[in-house]
């Protein structure tokens, strides 16, 4: 186990890790960018050319106020009009579990971007397994704080499932990290052993196989 310390930049631990994977000066699209914390951080520290998509009006306003380039809309639709390979990185942070057609979205991500960075709460963390086993009720954790009837998370994904999914859809995993976050998610640690059991989040950098221009439908 290795403890990774990032300077406290005010952004979430998982986003700090995502940011550490992004090359300076690159073009970044953040799908579901919220109030633009990651984009602003990358703009300031890595001189990226950033763009965000966000559905919530007040968050979009906040982003534009902060000088970010952001489109209001549904990420599944808004991703469609960009030209091929318009971005170096496309970030889909903690949103995959809310997407209706994940394979279609991944294909679109890899059409308009060289790399995708995808993160999601790991549903096979031991605490979740134990809750279901011992209480017989749908699990509620700090990472998945909803009841079954009000959760926006319509999909249950585990780190193992995502790796299998990559083989089915045909994309490559370039980098993978399993993390365990604590303290309002501002800090955390990398998990290297028994990740599927011990990590609260999985983060993957994905791309097309080198011989492919796009993924088949």
């Amino acid at each position: 186990m290795s403890i990774v310390k990032f300077k406290n930049n005010g952004i979430r631990f998982d986003l700090q890790l995502v940011a550490s994977w992004i090359e300076p000066g690159s073009r970044v699209l953040d799908l579901g960018c919220g109030e633009g914390d990651l984009l602003l951080y990358l703009k300031t520290h890595k001189a990226i050319e950033g763009k965000g998509i966000e559905q919530d009006e007040s968050k979009v306003v906040r982003c534009i106020e902060r000088g970010l380039s952001v489109l209001q809309g549904d990420l599944n639709e808004e991703i469609e009009d960009f030209p091929d390979q318009a971005f170096d990185y496309i970030v889909l942070s903690q949103t995959l579990q809310q997407v209706y057609e994940p394979d279609r979205l991944i294909r679109s991500i890899l059409r308009i971007g060289r790399n995708g960075i995808v993160s999601f709460p790991n549903f096979s963390h031991w605490r979740i397994r134990l809750q279901l086993l011992l209480t017989g009720k749908a699990p509620v954790t700090p990472q998945l704080p909803y009841q079954w009837y009000d959760t926006p998370n319509i999909r249950v994904i585990t780190i193992k499932d995502f790796i299998l999914f990559s083989k089915q859809v045909g994309f490559m995993i370039i980098k993978a990290a399993a993390i365990n976050t604590q303290g309002q998610e501002k800090w955390g640690r990398m998990i290297t052993t028994f990740a599927n059991l011990r990590a609260t989040y999985g983060i993957f950098q994905i791309s097309l196989p080198p011989d492919r221009k796009q993924l088949d439908d």
Binding site: K51, E57, S58, V60, V61, I64, E65, R66, G67, L68, S69, V70, L71, Q72, G73, D81, F82, P83, A86
Partner: protein, 375 residues
């Protein structure tokens, strides 16, 4: 914004006339304009505001301390406001074909020494923008930080960004469209018919006699309905009666909404020319960015622009609904241009872009700041 002054610029004098898109030459031409704030020594802090159908050059401030009301966008333009006149040099000119200081059908035709009337050529949004360009040339301005405007003003913003791409760093089209829908043309046509059906209209020759005031008032009433929304009219008027408790059982203005429209119509007649209304609505109906700049393709039309865009629409605007703003966004995205978009939740219909809205103000402020810092 304190006291401001309307200024005038005359061009296309003598043989050097302006050739319009319809093929006719027109001259001399005068543009009324106003400026707010200070032009920087390098002339790099210019913001151009383009006004809508019935607007004028008076975007902010007061002409006189006794004026009851400031300019039409005083909530947005002024020291410390969304468009900060302590930082930017703001310019607004009355559009060609209007009647509020700029040459239009009510101006004197130098060849006849009488008002042009229908001898005034039909002008387009392109002509309007070309006129503004002449004014900027005259002022020695080569680059604009941003062109900002709503509705027909928004059409001018789009036209500017495509016609003069090297001049425009940023564009903020509000509540607008790349072309009128059949619905929008239909409302304009009914409004024009109301004017032309007024016997005083007299084929546009009414300047020496009674004016087609009733026709123009009805035209304005139709316009006002399209600027509101079902929700805003329900909240503003509902079925409330005006100064009475029961129906009059005649054709007086029983309902508050009737009274409001009549008031708006009669107020408009005092300040606006019926022929100008015909010309400007026609210019708006003819506007088709894809047809005029992209051989029929909106996407191709936007390939020319070099500006960053902030596109804003309003949820209850049914004259220029959000899908029309999204068309602009889509075309810009397909061209790989920098565009931000926000649909503001507002109940006031098309009029929302002119009403106080903190979200709109803060977005414009933040967006302009980013553009200006990168100069």
């Amino acid at each position: 914004m304190g006291l401001v002054e309307k200024q005038f610029f005359t061009f296309a004098e003598g043989p050097d006339k302006m050739v319009l898109e319809c093929g006719t030459s027109l001259g001399p031409l005068t543009l009324a304009y106003e400026t707010y704030g200070k032009l920087s020594p390098s002339k790099d802090n210019v913001i151009l505001i383009t006004h809508a159908l019935s607007g004028d050059s008076h975007a902010a401030g007061y002409y006189d301390q006794e004026d009851p009301k400031p300019g039409w966008w005083d909530i947005m333009v002024g020291p410390g406001k969304g468009i900060d006149t302590e930082r930017y040099f703001v310019l607004c000119s009355n559009i060609l074909g209007s009647c509020l200081g700029t040459t239009g059908p009510s101006s004197l035709n130098p060849q006849t020494n009488r008002p042009y009337g229908l001898d005034f050529p039909v002008v387009t949004i392109g002509d309007i923008v070309s006129g503004q360009k002449r004014l900027l040339d005259h002022l020695g301005i080569k680059k604009i930080v941003a062109v900002i405007g709503g509705s027909i003003g928004g059409m001018q913003v789009l036209e500017w960004a495509i016609r003069f791409p090297e001049m425009v760093r940023a564009a903020i089209p509000l509540a607008t469209t790349t072309k009128h829908s059949a619905l929008a043309i239909a409302f304009n046509e009914v409004a024009r018919q109301a004017i032309m059906a007024d016997p005083h209209w007299n084929s546009g020759n009414y300047y020496s006699g009674p004016k087609p005031s009733l026709g123009l008032a009805v035209a304005r009433m139709i316009g006002h309905i399209t600027y509101l929304s079902d929700e805003s009219m329900r909240l503003k008027f509902g079925r409330r009666l005006q100064d009475r408790t029961d129906f009059s059982y005649n054709f007086d203005a029983d309902f508050q909404v009737e009274n409001y429209l009549r008031y708006q119509g009669s107020k408009f007649v005092e300040r606006f020319d019926a022929n100008s209304f015909l010309y400007i609505t026609k210019a708006a109906d003819y506007f088709d960015l894809g047809l005029q700049h992209g051989q029929g393709s909106t996407v191709r039309a936007f390939s020319k622009t070099m500006a960053r865009f902030l596109v804003v629409s309003f949820t209850s605007d049914w004259l220029y609904p959000t899908y029309q703003s999204k068309k602009i966004v889509q075309a810009l995205k397909k061209n790989g241009k920098d565009v931000s978009f926000c649909e503001i939740e507002a109940q006031w219909g098309h009029d929302a872009f002119l009403l106080p809205n903190e979200r709109l103000t803060e977005m414009i402020r933040g967006f302009l700041d980013r553009v200006y810092r990168q100069i």
